[in-house]
Structures are given as C-alpha cells and as structure tokens.
Symmetry: C2
Subunit: 373 residues, 2 copies
C-alpha cells in the first residue's frame, strides 16, 4: 500500500468504527430492554451562533434525542439507520462514493408486509444524512457522499489526485483554456510543486477566462479559481485546505452587491444552513478584494452601475445585522451601499478596457492591500 | 510562427477581411448618396426548417434589410456597427476574447450631445451580435466572443490547447476525479494520441463522477464527457468536432423524460433559437443510448420512476410533432411515454446497485447497439 492508500484506508476505518460503535450502543440499549435513542445536535437557528474567536458560524451544544419507540420519531430513526447502513456497507466497505440521490434511490423501498415506503421524498433521506453526519461528528465527504461539483482552477501548482487505484499528477499550469475541474470530494487531493504566492477566487467563470487568457496567474504567481457562482462544497473545502495547509493568502472577487457579499461570507464563515460544516468548509483567513462600493468611485464606474432593487436593499439591511459583518469596514461598506443604492458587476471594468482588470485593477488593489476583512 | 499560430492568424484575418468588406460596402453606398443597408437573414420561426438531408435545424433563405436612414432601423443599425467595431478593433486585432457582457459594458455610452444611450439593456447588444454573426455568415466564437463554459472530460486522449502564446498538452487520462473543464471556445483545440473508440456524453455530473470512479472509460476505451445539464456551446462544438474529425461514434445519456430528449436533440440537430448555428454546433451522428421508456421495463425500474406532470405530457406531445422526432423509433418512444406517463432518472439505476450502470447497463446497451436514432 502507498502512503496515500494507507491514509485513505485509515480515514475509512475511523468512520466505520464510529458507525459500528453507534450501532453497538443501540443494540446494547435494545438488549437491556431500553428505548434506543440517537443524540443529534439541533440545527435550527436557536442553536446557531457566531464563534468570534474562530471566526466561524457554528452549531451550539443543544441536542435532541431521537427514540426508536416513539411514534413521531420512529420513521426518522429508521431513515437514519438506512443511511448508516448504506454508508458503511455500500460505500465505505467498497471504497465507492455516491450522491445523495443515489442513496435515496438505493434505500427507497416498500416495507415488507406494509404499504409504507421507507422514504417518500429525497428531502427525507437528505435530512437523515445531515442528522447522521452531525450525530457522528463528521462530514458528508468522509461518508463518501458527493455533492454537485463546480469550479475550475489554473496556476503553478501540481495536484495529486487519487481515484481509487490510480494516482494522477495534474499540473495546473498546463490546463489550456479550460482549467482543471474542481471535484466534488477533495479529501484525497495532495499539493505539490507549489509555485504560487496567493489564491485568487473569482465568483464568475468569465473572470477566470479573462485572467487565464491574460496570463494573469503566470505573471502574478497566483492560483486562479472560479466557483462559477455560489461555491460548491468541493471548492470551499479546497480553499480552506489551501489556506490552512499551504498558508496561502486567499483573495475573493465578487460583484459589488449583497449576493456577492453572501457568496464571500459563505466561503469565509460558513452558512447558517450548514452551520455544522463551517469547521470543514470555512476559510476564515479569506479577504474580500472587490468589487467594493468604494471601487465604483475610485475607478469611475458610475455609468456602468445597476440600480439596487428593493430586495437588494432589504438583503443589505439584514446582512448589516449579522455578527460576521459587524467590523467597521463592512458596516461602512454596507452603509455606503444603502446610501448610493448602486450595484456593480466585476465585468463593469471592461468598460475601461478588456485587460483593465488584469493590468490595473487587480495589481493596484493587491499592492495596496485594499481589502475588506 | 508555429503551424497553429499561422492557422489562428489566418482565421482571424479571414474574419477581419469579411468585416472590412462589409464596412467598405456601406461606405460606398454612403458616398454614392444611397441609403446604406445590411442584409440580415430572418431568424423567426417563419424562416426555420428541418433539413432532412443534412439532419439539421436550419435557417431558410429569407432575409431582411436594415437601413441606416430609417427611423425604425437606425438604432439597431448603429448597435450592429458597435458590435462590428468592438469585434474587429478590441478583440480580433488584439487576439483577445470577451463575453457578451463585456461587449455590452464596453459599448454602452451616452451619445455625445444627446441624452440617448447607445445600448439600454444587454438584450439589445446580444441581438446585435447575433445579427452580425448571421450577416457575416460566421459564428460567435470566430468573432472571439465567449459563452459560459460548462462540462468536464476524461479519457485516453490528449488535447492540445493554445492560450495566446502558450500551448498546453493535456492528457485527459490523467485528470484525477475532476476532469478537464471544457472551455468556452474550442476552435483552437487539437486532438492527439487518440486511444478511444467512442464518446459517451452524459447530461449529469453525477454520472461522470460515477463512471470516472469506476474507471469505465479506461475499461471501455471511451472518452467520457458531462455537459452538466443543457450543453453549453463549447461542449456542443467539441462533440461535433470529435464526431466529424475523428469519426468517433457519440452516445448520449440523459434522463428518460422530455427534457432529456430536448438536451439530446439540441446537441444533435441544433435548436430553433440558434438555428443559424446548427451548422457549427450540431452533431448529427449522435445516438441516444438511454434512458428510454423501454429501459424502465427491461431493467425493472418501475418502482423508482417519477409520475409525469401535465407539463411533461404537453412537452412530449409538442415534440412528437417536430420533424426531427418523426422517425418510427422516436414516435414509438414518445407514444409509450404518453401511455405510461412515467419518467426515470439515469440515477434510478442506483437502486439496483451503484455500479450497475458501469458493469451492466452501459456494456449491455452498447453491445446490443440498443440506441434511438
């Protein structure tokens, strides 16, 4: 076995042991004539807080108990057990990964002798998966469950990616105009020949294409990534690993609007919907490079702005109250937005000239370390 | 200059010459005291037909004339000229590419001495771009205009991709779990070391991940691609080139529902909205591998089907009348769907077992050449 295979096998065995321990505990309770129960951290807003010290949106320590012999718990209990069985026997023991939809199809069936289906809608098995992740204190990818992949990368770095019995060395500096597609699961990915000084993550494919064509990442020794909209889990986890393991600064580039801020804050702090995942997906050292509302004046972009809609104003007002936007620079940014009520897309810079972003905007902003926290 | 650079330069010069010729013609008309006009093929449904011989949805030969000195034409005429100028001077002459949005931002301005903007909404410049493409008898990518990229690839083949002054050799057999991201523009891409016997294009990322993890493309000598939903222009053009230039059979895998058929037919025949592009984007030799409504019985998937909604039935009824679905096998397929009113996702095969698609379904279907035309 290679070092990588050993590490992977160890990761798999750790989870299998956790699942076995949980199962044995339930059997013990059953044999003792007790009502078996699962302890599941509560994921509602009452149990979500902002951890100032670690700069992450997190789950608190409130838990609920789910009992097998309880009419309103039994169905969910059974579904959680179906998830446990699928993860252990179908996925981990065979070293296979699957999507949430695969699990739903595999475990949906009519219970013998009844007209009752184990699972009606996929939302039920999805919920059971999250319950199981949280109960086990692990995350989906470690259970070999894949999310939809999204995003592309290029830069002077080699990624070593292991797909079952094959290991590929991928030179991200030789990916042509396409880039390397960021996979759903990146736990197995290793970094090598790191020749970059920072990571630049752009919300938009178009910006990746622009900067890639301009050779921006070559000239500026950066690792370029696009999330192609709201970042997928694979991209978020990869950013965290690049920041934590390689100590690379990570700069984020979104449109200047509340949706752009939201994309940024999700990558940086995690989200309320997935508060239990912030630990593994948050990249708390990320900086917001732009576009900022101030950029609109600085770079004379007023004529290519878009008027904010009521929904933008409402969203901005909400975000102003979030604990993770309470720093002075962000409060000022949001206030300025609420005053001007103007949005700007990164591509508005194309009104100057096509390469303005590569040749002027980015070098200037980065040299001046003109970031929002 | 390398052979590739010469070829690219030639492609660029050809378009520049076409633009110059069009411009000179307009100047000549102006100098002769005439009302300059552009001849633009009509793109409405009255001018769209199915070319049985070449198996493509096409534009007919009806044209409209757009005059400079005509109150209802002048604005569009001006916008088409803005597009021409941007494409020639900003893009082709600098060997740069841009998005439709970049063009919009670059050419939107208030006309001096008036309160009139050249372009109000991007839809106007987008329309002008299509007009210009059609008038010039070329396509967007040749004008160096990029669409949103989507899709991933893996297989025993090397792609040589030229990004401005750099040429990358990308071994698609060494792309790890991510795959190579299909770029927006693939005109410059060359194929080398082709070790595959067919192309398998799946609508869904999840299927790419499944088949990639199972090493399906290695064992079956296929080039694997996902379009990640409705295929983007880059993916469509690449499929056409793989079919035309390498003479590779192309098999398509979508869900069994009218939306899946639509995704397939767009890749194969083109679409009504982009009928002028079918020539460059249609892959008329593509086969529909599955899922078919018959597969639901053959593979005993009834318990994991989804009831068709009214909108599906309506869509299927419409599609039954399209000229490109008039073959007997497709008429039977649609009739069977309308009778059973059941949809099935490819992932429904996961209800058998996770690798059923790799180990049973695909090998069986391909061995039996069980395709719809």
């Amino acid at each position: 076995m290679t070092a990588h295979e050993l590490k992977k096998e160890k990761r798999i065995q750790e989870i299998i042991q956790k699942i076995d321990a949980l199962g044995l505990e339930l059997v013990k309770e059953l044999e003792a004539g007790e009502n078996p129960s699962l302890e599941i951290p509560i994921r509602g807003s009452s149990n979500i807080y902002f951890d100032e010290k670690n700069r992450k949106i997190r789950l608190g320590d409130k838990v609920s108990h789910r009992y097998l012999f309880n009419v309103s718990h039994a169905r969910k209990f059974m579904q959680t057990m179906l998830v446990a069985s699928y993860v252990k026997k179908d996925l981990l023991e065979n070293n296979l990964t699957a999507t949430l939809r695969d699990l739903y199809y595999a475990k949906k069936h009519t219970i013998e002798g009844t007209k009752e289906d184990t699972i009606d809608e996929q939302t039920e098995s999805d919920q059971a998966i999250v319950d199981f992740e949280v109960a086990l204190g692990t995350f989906r990818e470690r259970l070999h469950l894949r999310a939809e992949p999204k995003g592309r990368m290029a830069g002077e770095m080699t990624v070593v990616d292991h797909v079952r019995d094959k290991s590929d060395r991928i030179n991200l500096a030789k990916m042509g105009s396409g880039g390397w597609a960021v996979p759903s699961i990146v736990e197995q990915v290793e970094f090598d020949n790191v020749g970059v000084e920072y990571v630049l993550v752009a919300e938009k494919n178009a910006i990746f294409d622009r900067l890639n064509e301009d050779g921006y990442w070559m000239k500026n020794k950066c690792l370029l990534m696009t999330t192609a909209g709201q970042a997928a889990r694979g991209a978020r986890r990869l950013l965290q690993r690049l920041s934590d393991e390689l100590k690379l600064p990570v700069y984020c580039l979104t449109d200047s609007d509340p949706y752009g801020w939201y994309i940024y804050s999700t990558m940086k702090y995690g989200s309320m919907a997935l508060a239990h995942e912030s630990e593994r997906l948050g990249c708390e050292k990320m900086h917001f490079l732009g576009m900022s509302t101030t950029d609109i004046e600085t770079y004379d972009l007023k004529s290519v702005t878009i008027k904010a809609k009521e929904v933008d104003v409402k969203r901005a007002t909400e975000m102003k109250n979030y604990d993770w936007f309470k720093s002075k620079p962000w409060q000022d940014e949001i206030d300025l937005f609420l005053k001007k009520r103007l949005k700007a897309e990164i591509q508005a810079l194309s009104s100057k000239n096509l390469q303005y972003i590569s040749k002027t905007y980015l070098p200037e902003k980065i040299a001046a370390q003109d970031f929002l926290p």
